[in-house]
Amino acid sequence: MSGTPLLSLAIWVPILAGLVVLATGSDRNAPLARMLSLLGAVAGLLVTIPLYTGFDVHTPAMQFVELRSWIPRFNVNYHLGVDGISMPFVILNSFITVTVVLAGWQVIESKVAQYNAGFLIMSGLMNGIFSALDGVLFYVFFEASLIPLYLIIGVWGGPNRVYAAFKFFLFTLFGSLLFLIALLYLFLASGGSFSILDWHQMPLALNAQVWLFLAFLIAFAVKVPMWPVHTWLPDAHVEAPTGGSIVLAAIALKLGAYGFLRFSLPITPDASHELAGLVIALSLIAIIYIGFVALVQDDMKKLVAYSSIAHMGFVTLGFFIFSAMGIEGALVQMISHGFVSGAMFFSIGVMYDRAHSRQIADYGGVVNTMPKFAAFFMLFAMANAGLPATSGFVGEFMVILASVKHNFWIAFAAATTMIVGAAYTLWMYKRVVFGAVANHHVAELTDINAREFLIFVLFAIGALGMGLYPQPFTEVMHSSVNELLHHVALSKIQ
């Protein structure tokens, strides 16, 4: 298998499948479009499996590397490769795409081909982001992935979708344009290389590092999103169709966090140490303040959106305490959040498809009419609150443990999320699911069908599997994370 360009396949199989689906055209061919999309998504997932089975856990080096000249005029290369940090996300992304195609199966009835094609193309682009080792290639995928999500929110979204789509696009573009200038600066400073790995080794003065770090920070903070540039996310989530919310929460948010590990920490290590306090402060604000904001939401999707921001605060906190446990915990948290938030948004989608409301007040006593659904929803609510034995616990626990070593008060502040997170998630769960049947809409609810059951099972395997046996996930990260930390500890100032 060594000669197979696996990463190229992971990128281009979904994109080509998307174009084929697009060619099926009008909604008369909707069943065909759905079948083809599922086929494409499953094929996209299958080609990523060898990335895990063939992965060498003992080396921090890039694996499955592909290097071809792309634009020799600017020394831009089609340079792909994954290490223990990025590989899990390629698989997670391909997995989420399958669930998204399934999630839209009966729900999306207009422009089915375009809807599914959008997700497939986006899946390929996201895989490109996670596996790009060339700055321009990374940037190109990073920005191109805005287009499908913009269209998905705008075409299939809720009443306020136009505002949400514009806000999403312009916010993220704002961040990435400064990032582009940073890339061009690095190109110049490195004497004409766009290779991210070259940049990792390149000495840089502290002053330049600080500016670069800030440019990276703006780009990635918008994407994560960190407080105070998070305001686009609740809007985007509320208006996006269920599939859009799943991808947004499970994958798109991870891009920013991944950017910190690929760019900020290794390229500007001294500035990272210098400005770690800033990032930690922003992370704690996200964890605590946004947690309380989530508590008062009336809209379930908004609530989960704010809870996502709080959870991502954990991720950035874990990165900037510079310990193996912290970074691995953050990575586990990212993957876990992919499963759990995806499942939470799917749960809300299931209810919305039936009762056409996301307001907590419109529900009550759902367990009486949808017992199977309530059981699954319970599991994911618990995982979202960070209950032990679910994946949500592992990451948060590791990050808190690592921050205790770093500074007790930071850990103390972060640990409050255990309470607040449980409060907003379980309180919402209680109001929606328990109690007497609230109104005739709830009384008319029908329990989940086989398709929805399948999706829930897929998410549950992820969330429980990671919670009970996280070793396969952490194992692949070890050497890459250690190498990264080793690298970050070295000063680049000469």
Binding site: I71, P72, V162, A165, L170, L173, I181
Partner: protein
């Protein structure tokens, strides 16, 4: 001087044979058209297109790749000129194809003169591209401008078109005067009109700097008018908006190539010694253009007018590549910077042709379709066309994988290489603002319900050509290397 003493040397006609060919063909078509009885003027149309193809063949055949001067050094043939000319013919061919349906529905434009004027305008642009003498530049420019004035006014019962023609003529004449005045100053300072000789004398320091810079201001103003950058942009929105869309398409595409060539000839070939002075002026113009163009475009409700302001901002962005060639007297980055500007202008012309082509395609039954609202719900009426238009809009906004991204990328790269980070930040800030109105077009096509459900009817050949245009934007966005190095190579061999 006696007759025997007068030596008459036949100039070498080879470098100018394409110009001679197209001139002959334009005259032939003008005469032949008198005998065409067919209301549709198919013969004239076909002949015009064949002449352009023939001119391309001639240009290709006589191109040596060397710099050759002729007509007592008034005319130069070089690789940059040949490349721009070939792209020019291609643009004009595409433009005439796009315009065909539009013209057929308008009695007054359905004349042989339309095609003859298009050919004369093309000739004017070719002369501008190959000029090595201030008078040659001026002659080419006037030939282009006069043809365009007439083309704008051709639909003579249309009030907006007549008004646009009038404005264009008055302002254009003023700009020509300004340019001529600047040229006369330069002549006064250097004692020659020959561009290469001007460069030589400036290099040797045989010129009065004060008069020169005074003249330079006027030359830059004249160029800025032709490019349509702030504060010489006033004519652009009115002319783009008022002119018949077919003519707008013409004005918005091919002349940009010629204006770029004129700028290269005058400023880079001729006045490179004064680079510091004209760069400072152009930086100001570039920043103003990006600001005014992008902000004013947001307020437009008419697509032609919006694209006019977008053109202003794009030309401003392109200028960033021109102003970063010489850094503190060091011309190390010149080739990189100028070729990025050339790449920018070529890809802009490609995208602009597609966008105006789309307006033409939607205009049916003698009606215009140039309001933004006419694009509402296009995705439901025709997903393919909506997809093409979306690609063009994203390309103009500079989003990958479309060629507009690499155009912006290469120019920004030149700006950063010149050490002007603040200029790069200003440029991306205004692109972000600009992104909004391109997104709005996508929003109208995709998010809004259509006002009419009638399917889009258009001739197949036009749909095919427009598809090719759109796919070229995507394809060049994935593989920009070939065109980029072509620009760099042709400039390397010409400067």
């Amino acid at each position: 001087m006696t007759l025997a003493e007068m030596q008459f040397l036949t100039p070498d006609l080879r470098p100018a044979s394409a110009e001679i060919f197209i001139l002959l063909m334009a005259c032939v078509i003008l005469i032949l058209d008198l005998f065409v009885r067919d209301r549709k003027r198919t013969l004239t149309f076909v002949l015009t297109q064949l002449s352009l193809v023939g001119t391309a063949v001639v240009t290709f055949a006589v191109s040596t790749g060397e710099i050759t001067y002729t007509f007592s050094n008034m005319f130069v043939g070089d690789l940059m000129g040949d490349l721009l000319k070939l792209l020019l013919y291609l643009t004009v061919i595409v433009v005439l194809f796009y315009s065909r349906g539009y013209i057929l529905e308008r009695e007054q434009m359905l004349r042989g003169e339309y095609y003859a004027l298009a050919l004369f305008a093309t000739l004017g642009m070719m002369v501008m591209i190959s000029a090595n003498h201030l008078v040659t530049v001026y002659a080419g420019l006037e030939l282009l401008s006069l043809s365009l004035y007439a083309m704008v006014a051709m639909n003579r019962d249309s009030v907006p078109a007549t008004e646009a023609a009038m404005k264009y003529f008055v302002l254009g004449a003023l700009a020509s005067g300004v340019l001529l005045y600047g040229m006369s100053m330069i002549y006064g300072a250097t004692g020659t009109l020959e561009i290469t000789a001007i460069a030589e004398r400036l290099y040797l320091g045989q010129a009065d700097k004060g008069v020169l810079v005074f003249g330079l201001v006027f030359v830059v103003s004249g160029i800025a008018f032709k490019l349509g950058v702030v504060p010489f942009h006033m004519w652009i929105p009115d002319v783009y908006h008022g002119a018949p869309t077919a003519v707008t398409l013409f004005i918005a595409t091919a002349p940009k190539l010629a204006a770029f060539a004129m700028m290269v000839r005058l400023l880079i070939n001729g006045l490179i010694v004064l680079a510091k002075d004209w760069q400072d002026m152009l930086i100001l113009l570039a920043v103003l253009s990006m600001a005014v163009g992008n902000i004013a475009a947001i307020a437009q409700t008419n697509l032609k007018r919006m694209l006019a302001y977008s053109a202003i901002s794009h030309m401003g962005f392109m200028l960033l590549g021109v102003v970063t060639g010489v850094v503190g007297g060091d011309a190390r980055f010149a080739l990189n910077a100028y070729s990025s500007a050339m790449f920018y202008v070529i890809t802009y012309v490609l995208t602009s042709a597609g966008a105006f082509g789309m307006i033409l395609l939607l205009a049916r039954g003698g009606l215009e379709s140039d309001e933004l609202d006419d694009f509402k719900g296009l995705n439901r009426r025709n997903p393919w066309l909506a997809g093409l238009m979306m690609m063009m809009m994203f390309s103009m906004a500079g989003i990958p994988f479309f060629v507009g991204f690499f155009a912006k990328f290469s120019v920004l790269q030149a700006v950063v290489a010149a050490g002007q980070l603040w200029l790069a930040i200003v440029a991306v800030a205004f692109s972000l603002i600009g992104c909004f109105y391109y997104l709005r077009v996508v929003k109208l096509m995709y998010f809004d319900p259509p006002a009419t459900t009638s399917p889009v009817e258009a001739p197949l050949d036009m749909k095919l050509l427009l598809s090719a245009n759109g796919l070229a934007i995507a394809l060049l966005g994935v593989f920009p290397q070939a065109l980029m190095s072509l620009c760099a190579f042709s400039l390397l061999r010409s400067l």
